[in-house]
Structures are given as C-alpha cells and as structure tokens.
C-alpha cells in the first residue's frame, strides 16, 4: 500500500470526495435507523465503513461510465448521483423508490445514472459487466465499466470465467474487490486458498496484482483513475483489491458476533475513512466550518429524503404483473 499523496488533487475534488463519503455514511446510517423503526422492508446490506471505496471509484468516473454492484450497493448507487429518497424509498418499499418496490434493496438500478444494477447472486454480475464493456469495445465508445464485489465472491465460478474473458478480450472493465474480511459470517481467510483473495489471483488472468488501502479515498481515487485511463485507452481490464471493513453485520439480521473483540473498534477508530479524510483536509488547511457546512447540508438532505419517503404511498397493486416482458405486461400467451 502506498502512502496518500494528495497534492495534485484539486480542492474541489477533495471536497467532493469528502461530501460523497459523508453522504454515503449518513444515508446508510439513516437506513439502519429506519430498519430499527421497522420501516425498511426485506433485507438490507449496509456499506458503513466502506465509504472511501464507493466515493473514490465513483468520483473518478465520467458520466456515461457504467457501474455494476451487488446487494451491498446502496453506496455505489448513491455515489453515482441517484437521489437519496429514491434509494431509501426502495428500501422502504414505497412507490417513490427507484424500482417502485419491485426490486428491493438488493437490486438498486438507475440506468439513467449508469447504475446498471445490483445483483444478489454472488458473482453473477462479473460476466455481465464484461458484456457491457464488450459493447463499448465493439461500438468504439469511450465509456468504461466498473464492477464491484466482495472478497467472498472471488471463490465462485462466475468470477473466474468473467476475469478470464475480460483479460482475453482486453475489455474496458475495472473489477473492484472490496475485501471487508468476511464473506457472510465466515472470515475470508478460512475459505480462501490465498491471503489476498483478488490480488493474489490477478496473475491467473495475466493481470497486475493491485492491493490498496480502501479506507483512504485519495488512494482509491488515484488507483481508479489510473485503471480507467488504461481501460479507456485499450489497455484492458484491471483487478483492484481494496482492504476495507464493514461496521454493521452482513445484513439486517446479523449482529456480527463472530468478530474478534476489538476488531470493530480498531477499524471504526483509526481506520475510519471519513475520520481519516477529515483530518487530512484539516491538516491541509481546509476550514473546519466548511466541512461542518457540508456535513449539515448532507444531514438536511437525508432528513428531507426520509420525510419524502415516509409520506410516499406503497406501490399500487396494479404493477404486480407489469414489465415482465417488453410490451409492459406479463402475458405468456396470445
């Protein structure tokens, strides 16, 4: 892991990275509160603690670039500019949700914003992301595709097939492994043949081994940028492993008792991405009031979004059978 060098990042960009991380943190925290209030339907998988990864990769993307993520996708969806109320609304199963409640928290999608879906079958989206990148290559368009997944995902077959295809076809796709140390409840090291589940496998696809500190948004941003440039200029795919940590349990049902004492405190303390970034900005001479202003604005937006969602009705039962087929319906017969 290289040290953060921040000089060449613009002031604007640095504030944007900070704002984004705060927004992801506050939104996820709110999702958790709403769950405690029994207002979130179904399951949810929070990214608390993993904000730097989502913020850094998204900030380095251009409009038109594509995101593929997993059920743990709230942060990646928000980071592409999808309004908070559309995400919270979907979690709450309201008609104003991104998918009007049809998909739920595990399938957040905003084609408009380039979020081409959240996938709940581990690894399935890796080949799908290849296909999106293949389209760009075939059409000669300059967009790139970014595909996020967890450490546990590196042990499933679709990972292997997708990585090999991307490498052989030199596709403009960037694979991002968020290694948060656990698959569901099992430590990743117990079920994986190599210590770094993605980085130690890059060579199996002829790719460079890249392992970075996922708690440092600047490092993430720079790494992302380099990989995107390479992809855009025909250099093919990258596989980037980010060391990170999730503060909450795997999903809403999980109290995460399997973690060793002190582990959470360590990460939430000195390894917290927002704390790290805030301190760096202050040290670099940014005005604390400006940071407070960002934090307050974000909180207001999250509050507003929450109210919008609470006021929103559930979807109409009429949409139960719509949009199975392209004609808008579900008729399987003439």
């Amino acid at each position: 892991m290289t040290a953060a060098v921040t000089q060449d990042l613009s002031t604007d960009l640095r504030l944007r990275l900070y704002r984004l991380q705060v927004e992801l943190r506050e939104s996820e925290q709110r999702a958790y509160d709403l769950f405690l209030q029994n207002l979130v339907k179904g399951t949810s998988h929070l990214s608390l603690g993993q904000e730097a990864v989502a913020a850094g990769f998204a900030a380095a993307m251009e409009p038109g670039d594509l995101t593929f993520c997993t059920y743990r996708g709230h942060a990646h969806t928000l980071a592409r500019g999808v309004p908070i109320e559309k995400v919270l609304g979907e979690l709450m199963g309201r008609d104003n949700g991104l998918l009007r409640g049809k998909g739920g928290s595990m399938h957040l999608t905003s084609v408009e914003r380039g979020v081409m879906g959240s996938y709940a079958i581990v690894g399935a989206h890796i080949p799908i992301a290849c296909g999106a990148a293949w389209r760009a290559q075939y059409k000669g368009s300059k967009d790139i595709t970014v595909c996020f997944f967890g450490d546990g995902t590196t042990n499933i077959g679709a990972f292997h097939e997708g990585l090999n295809l991307a490498a052989v076809w030199k596709l403009p796709v960037v694979f991002v492994c968020e290694n948060n140390l656990y698959m569901e409840y099992t430590p990743i090291g117990k079920v994986t043949a190599v210590p770094n589940p993605a980085a130690d496998r890059a060579s199996a696809y002829g790719l460079e081994s890249i392992l970075i500190d996922g708690q440092d948004a600047d490092i993430v941003y720079r790494t992302a940028h380099a990989a995107y440039d390479k992809a855009r200029s025909g250099g093919g795919p990258s596989l980037i492993e980010c060391r990170t940590y999730r503060y909450s349990g795997h999903s809403r049902a999980d109290p995460a008792k399997y973690r060793p004492e002190g582990e959470l405190d360590f990460w939430r303390g000195e390894r917290d991405p927002i704390r790290i970034y805030r301190e760096r900005l202050l040290q670099a001479g940014f005005d604390e009031a400006a940071l407070r202003e960002i934090e307050d604005t974000v909180r207001r937006r999250v509050d507003e979004a929450t109210e919008i969602c609470k006021a929103a009705p559930p979807p109409s039962p009429d949409i139960l059978c719509t949009d199975v087929y392209a004609d808008g319906g579900s008729a399987w017969r003439n």
Partner: protein
C-alpha cells in the same frame, strides 16, 4: 411430546442422523460456526466438530460436487444450498451429474445424499431470494424431492432422506422456520412418497405443499363454514416419489381437484399433478381441475406486491368457490 419450531426441527433432524451414523457429514456456507443464516443449524458444529460440520467457500458447484464425490465413495453428505434460488448456479450437479450417474454407469455409482435448501417467499427478499423451485427439481429424472410443512415432518422426512439410497432435495420453507408444532420425543423416522390427508372432505381435493398447506387448511375451513364446500386437503409432502395412490383415491372420491403451489405458473408441479389426474381418473371428474399458482412473473420485493403474488387464503377460497359455483 415437545413443541418446537420448524427451524429447531431442522437442527434436531440433522443431529438425530449424525448421532446415528458417523458417515453423515454436513457442509455449506456459514452453517457451522454461525449456525446458518436462518439459524437452522445452530449447535451442530459444537456437537459434531468441524470435521463433520464444515463451512465452505461461496462455491455452490464445489459444495454439490464435493457432496456427490463423498456420497459416491461411501459417505452420506447433507449439503446446504443457502437459498433455493442458488440452485441455479449449481444446477449442473442436480440436472446432469448426481441425478444421472447411477443410470449412466449401469448402477455402479450410488449417490446417497441430501441437499437441503431454504425455499419460498414471504420475507420480501425479492426475485432472487424468494422463489419456490420444487419444479426445477421435480423435472429431473433421478432426483427425489421432499418439502415438509411441519416440524415433525421436518425431522421424520430428514431422517428418511438421509437414510434413502438416492439423492434427495429437501425444501425447507423460509416462512415456516418460526412456526411451532408438536413432535414426539425420541427418534422420528418418516417415509418418502407418502402424502397426508390433513383434512378429510367430501366435495373437492386440494393438493398443497409446504407453506401452502396451512393456507389450504385455512381456506378449507372458510369454504366449509361460509360456502358449505367441504374440501379434503392433502399435504403432498413428497413430489418424487409421488403418492399417486392417496391423491387419485381422494379425487375419485371428491370428483374435483385443485392444486395450490408457489411455483410460477408455467410447468409447475401443479401442472404435473393435474396431468396425472386427468390421465388416470378423467371420468371421475365433475369439473375442470384448476391450478392456483403464483402468476408467471419474477417475485416482487415489497410486501403489498409479494403478498399479492403468492397464493393467499383469499385467493384459494375465491378460486374454489367460483369454480364450484357456490
């Protein structure tokens, strides 16, 4: 006699078989130290140790492949596929490998194993974590397919499945995990291929499975009290082997049949059962056999939509009432 949940019955059923036979081993994702994502396997690793209760990587093909290899060579594995929807990522083992190897090898290779998996809707988990996929398995020659609806059946059918010399898919219903029921103390061993008449009735036969059994029972009560239609409810329990004797005898008595299933409409097990009925007791029927199913759609996530999709007591009552012209 003890009261226990369907969830606890799973652990008890597995423990009963592991205690009996040291060749019974158990593998799956997060099943050991964590006790399973549905907490249905709590305590097993403590009782039987990490060599018999083994956490795996997220590698469903490796899970079923390893179970098959172990079964072929003398063990009796129980493999967990966490959600039945994930059968799709390891379907080759079900469809082409463990189901066919006995036949292809002229009887040389045996695959005595159990695949248990959480099936069905009700948790607002959306299209990739809520499906009922009994039909994905019923259509494959060589598999046996079981789906208990009560805690006692969980234990008894688990024992029957583990002791069976063929591969058995054991569908546990997610929404039944918290449900309580009575079970006798001591060993419980049931039989595959035996349906249960859970409510006798004279006017029509309702064939149901898993979560649809309590719904069919509730519907039958209402049909009786509000509409004077007396339905016989059969818990099919085992799709393969199928207890056609009990089913056909009931239809021959009642002259009408309705199936209630969570499978989406096309090619569900209801279609198979209806086809068997019309093939074999056509002239006993007084009216069309009807299927009550989930519509042919992916499952929606949010509660108002999911509740509408899966057959409800209301829908069962309405369909039968209308069809019986009551």
């Amino acid at each position: 006699m003890a009261e226990l949940t369907y969830r606890d019955a799973v652990a008890r059923g597995i423990a009963q078989e592991m205690e009996r036979d040291p060749d019974v081993i158990f593998l799956g994702e997060d099943i050991a130290r964590a006790g399973g994502v549905f907490k249905a396997t709590v305590g097993l690793v403590e009782k039987f140790g990490p060599l018999r209760v083994r956490d795996t990587p997220i590698s469903e093909q490796a899970i079923l492949g390893a179970a098959m290899g172990a079964a072929m060579t003398g063990l009796k594995p129980i493999a967990e596929i966490m959600f039945s929807d994930f059968i799709a990522v390891c379907f080759d083992y079900l469809a082409n490998q463990l189901s066919k190897s006995r036949y292809m090898t002229n009887g040389q290779v045996k695959c005595p194993l159990v695949i248990r998996t959480a099936n069905g809707g009700g948790f607002r988990f959306g299209a990739q974590h809520s499906q009922s996929v009994e039909n994905w398995c019923m259509m494959i020659p060589g598999l046996k397919v079981v789906a208990p609806s009560t805690p006692a059946d969980v234990i008894g059918l688990m024992a029957a499945a583990v002791r069976d010399p063929d591969p058995v898919i054991f569908f546990e219903h997610k929404s039944l995990y918290p449900v309580k029921g009575e079970a006798p103390d001591g060993e419980i061993v049931d039989q595959l291929g035996v349906a249960k008449i859970v409510r006798p009735g004279a006017n029509a036969t309702i064939l149901a499975l898993a979560l649809m059994v309590p719904r069919a029972l509730a519907a039958a009560e209402r049909l009786k009290s509000q509409h004077g239609i007396d339905c016989e409810v059969i818990d099919v329990r085992s799709l393969v082997p199928l207890d056609t004797q009990t089913i056909l005898a009931s239809v021959a008595r009642t002259h009408r049949v309705f199936t209630v299933e969570e499978n989406p409409r096309l090619c569900g097990w209801g279609a198979e059962l209806v086809s068997i009925v019309v093939d074999e007791v056509f002239y006993d029927l007084d009216g069309p056999p009807l299927r009550i199913t989930t519509p042919h759609i992916p499952l929606p996530a949010t509660d108002v939509l999911e509740d509408q999709a899966i057959p409800s007591v209301d829908r069962i009552v309405e369909t039968i009432r209308r069809s019986m012209h009551a």
